[in-house]
Subunit: 455 residues, 2 copies
């Protein structure tokens, strides 16, 4: 490995390499909380040309590379494995252009999401990608993992907000697939190959993003319901009656109580407990329209109670109940299984019933918390037993069930390394074969994030 360090130092300059004890824990593990693992060394290019030089060298010498952005992933995609060189994009940082008329922003891969959000807002615009890791995650990682988050229902995943990009292929070829238009049907839409492929088909170095105007206004409420059927009915109603339903976050009572209890800054907005809660947010509605829709639902008996945020502070409190995941996690025994499954909305109730009953049948003292972006068909489940480490068995058990309901093992977190063995439970053999064709065609030496996505 020292030969390669010397050669790359010669090619790129010593300031681009970190070796030995200079490699901080930052480069050793992502937020999935796996055991940290030292990369062979870290390369931190200053620009796209350097990324190209580095990858060309790695291809020639068949050296495996793990690309790293903000390392906020939850699937082990950026955690180094044996023999891998870490490629950190953190120095490709900055906004290249903000075109207010065209409502686009061109940014380098290592730019933190929050920096982009703030730059857009300073111009009266916004990038509607938002997730808890906003301060740490980098746009290149958001694009490579097709990040989801809190605004998918109305604006789509990150994929929908990428108009163009620049990527570097495994052999060092720079692909300038820039585009600033909403519509461009000139040939294959190559950017799609690099979005969501978790760094296995190429390295995203720059991105052209679609921006939107700020919302005219926003209203937030938490409502309480009696049954899952009512939750789905409320989803359908609010989607048709609100000008723009921008969030529909479901919380089962067990999660809701756990969150309120785990976070000393939170209080339950209701006087009693209910089986289900939904945090919902609408954009561009007049307040009376927003209130009327909820009032009608109360009158009809579909909603049991509702609290409308009267201030930004209220709204922040409601969101904090949904977002107190770290606090919730700190109250449950390690290790737990942490699901990010997706299902058609129409299948969800049956699936969750089946999970409950079959987990209880299979495991002793099993407990679980359920919540998620219901409007997107994305449910998070935390499940654990008190007696022993059953988490791997719980994963296997639930993923097997999911298969019967046409669901996906990952709606937003990605496959990474940790779910690569489960891909076959939600993708057909023909799909996986075609994925291998693409991987072989674009990275024949298998140097880009090997073992992630495809095991």
């Amino acid at each position: 490995m020292q030969t390669h360090i010397d050669a790359l130092t010669e090619l790129l300059g010593a300031d681009q390499l970190l070796t030995g004890s200079d490699i901080s824990e930052r480069y050793q593990v992502d937020w999935s909380k796996e055991a940290p693992h030292m990369p062979e060394f870290v390369v931190r290019p200053r620009n796209t040309a350097d990324v190209s030089t580095f990858l060309r060298y790695c291809s020639e010498h068949k050296l495996p590379v793990v690309p790293q952005g903000g390392l906020t992933g939850l699937a082990g995609g950026a955690t180094p494995r044996d023999g891998e060189i870490a490629l950190s994009l953190e120095r490709l940082n900055g906004i290249t252009e903000l075109d207010k008329q065209s409502m686009t922003m061109t940014v380098k891969a290592g730019t933190p999401l929050q920096v982009i959000q703030q730059a857009a807002e300073a111009e009266g615009l916004r990038l509607p990608v938002d997730l808890g890791a906003r301060g740490s995650c980098q746009i290149g990682g958001n694009v490579s993992t097709n990040a989801g988050g809190n605004q998918v229902l109305s604006f789509g995943m990150t994929r929908a907000l990428v108009l163009g990009l620049e990527a570097v292929q495994a052999d060092g070829t720079i692909v300038p697939a820039y585009n600033k238009m909403l519509k461009n049907n000139a040939g294959y839409d190559l950017k799609q190959l690099f979005i969501g492929s978790e760094g296995t088909l190429g390295i995203v170095t720059e991105v052209v993003l679609r921006l939107f105007p700020l919302a005219r206004n926003k209203h937030t409420a938490v409502v309480a319901l009696d049954s899952f059927e009512s939750v789905v009915k409320l989803l359908n109603t609010t989607q048709s009656k609100f000008a723009r339903l921008s969030a529909f976050e479901a919380m089962w009572n067990s999660f809701f109580q756990c969150s309120v209890g785990a976070n000393p800054n939170l209080s339950d907005p209701f006087d009693e407990q209910y089986p289900f809660y939904v945090l919902l947010e609408s954009e561009n509605d007049a307040l009376d329209q927003f209130q009327q829709v909820l009032f009608d639902e109360l009158e009809a008996g579909n909603v049991l109670d509702a609290v409308i945020a009267q201030s930004g502070k209220d709204s922040d409190q409601f969101w904090a109940i949904r977002d107190s995941i770290p606090e919730v996690m700190s109250t449950i025994p390690q290790p737990y299984a942490n699901f990010d499954v997706g299902l058609p909305v129409s299948q969800m109730e049956d699936f969750l019933d089946k999970v409950q009953s079959s987990l209880s049948e299979r495991f002793e003292n099993v407990e679980s918390l359920t919540f998620g972006h219901l409007g997107d068909g994305n449910i998070h489940i935390l499940a654990w037993t008190t007696h022993e480490d059953n988490s791997q068995a719980i994963y296997k058990h639930v993923y097997q069930l999911l298969n019967e309901f046409g669901g996906t093992v990952t709606a937003e977190h990605g496959i990474g390394y940790m779910k690569a063995d489960y891909l076959k439970l939600c993708r057909s053999p023909e799909e996986i074969a075609l994925m291998r064709v693409l991987k072989q065609a674009m990275d024949p030496n298998n140097i880009l994030n090997p073992g992630r996505v495809l095991s």
Copy 2:
């Protein structure tokens, strides 16, 4: 060729083949109005398995195939060329499932767009893809060409509305890439390969579509403006002030007058002529909010006049001015150049000024009409000279200019056969090389729509 007809008759049954004089003009040319061309024969499979059998045979015998849907394309993508067998998907017709709760519809490739629109509306939902050819075009073609149309600004291209699909690869492999969720990050998003690749990477046989609730209400207006700068200002204002700006169609005066003049059922809603007109439509706004935005624009002097539709009939009349393309075309001398270019909104004015001045410099008596989906960065230009057939020279001239402004030779119509030579003017050599890698990997015998997209 008779050997192949015999073999395929044996494999598929005689009722699936059309030969000789049984091949009507329907199978010979698309709406691009090229010269009709007889395919060797036509195959009309009844199901996906038959498509697979047919393609496997063609791959083995290296027989070129031109896939056909409703043949409403404008780029020659579905017009047969020498030696090609036409594969018509028209018999794969029907709705497999409409899941109201999940707001999805699964449909076979040969189902006409309008049938799908109506089935959704019958359930209080909608598929927000709409274009003039809705009665003839088929969803498989819409997906394969990533159709644009009138609602892209708010809902995106067809690509954004496809959740999953089934496709058949060149070698006959059926790829069941179904998915009903908004979010699914399990591996590469393979459907993207088949969307917009114009049948060159595989044949789409079934599609899972995302549906939306019907709009709460709609308001339509035509406004008159003095300058292109005002048009862009209005676009930015209405995008931020309307609940959902669903259409923003710009018409230059020459087009507007020509359309009103060419269609005896239309009248000019204004008493005098203006340099620019915009047809705009908003969803989910109260009428007074809609009126107030336009009133403020009038007060500020950015808009010179505005007429708000008072009825569905008014709105239809306004749309007819925008949609009278066949009537407009009948008034201008053949052959004309017909552009579907895309540009960043911020580049559009300079580009169009340059087109005007340089066309006048280069050609005698050149005339043109300009209109388009301005909010999407998509401009249509019709240009012609009275003296001689300059249309090919006009194409070349304008595409060369476009290159300097970062534009695309096709925003929505696609490359097909007719623009394959111009792809290199708006895609980099590295992009085209990567397109060839994909084509080679997925269709090594080059049997699927050869010569389209990649020449």
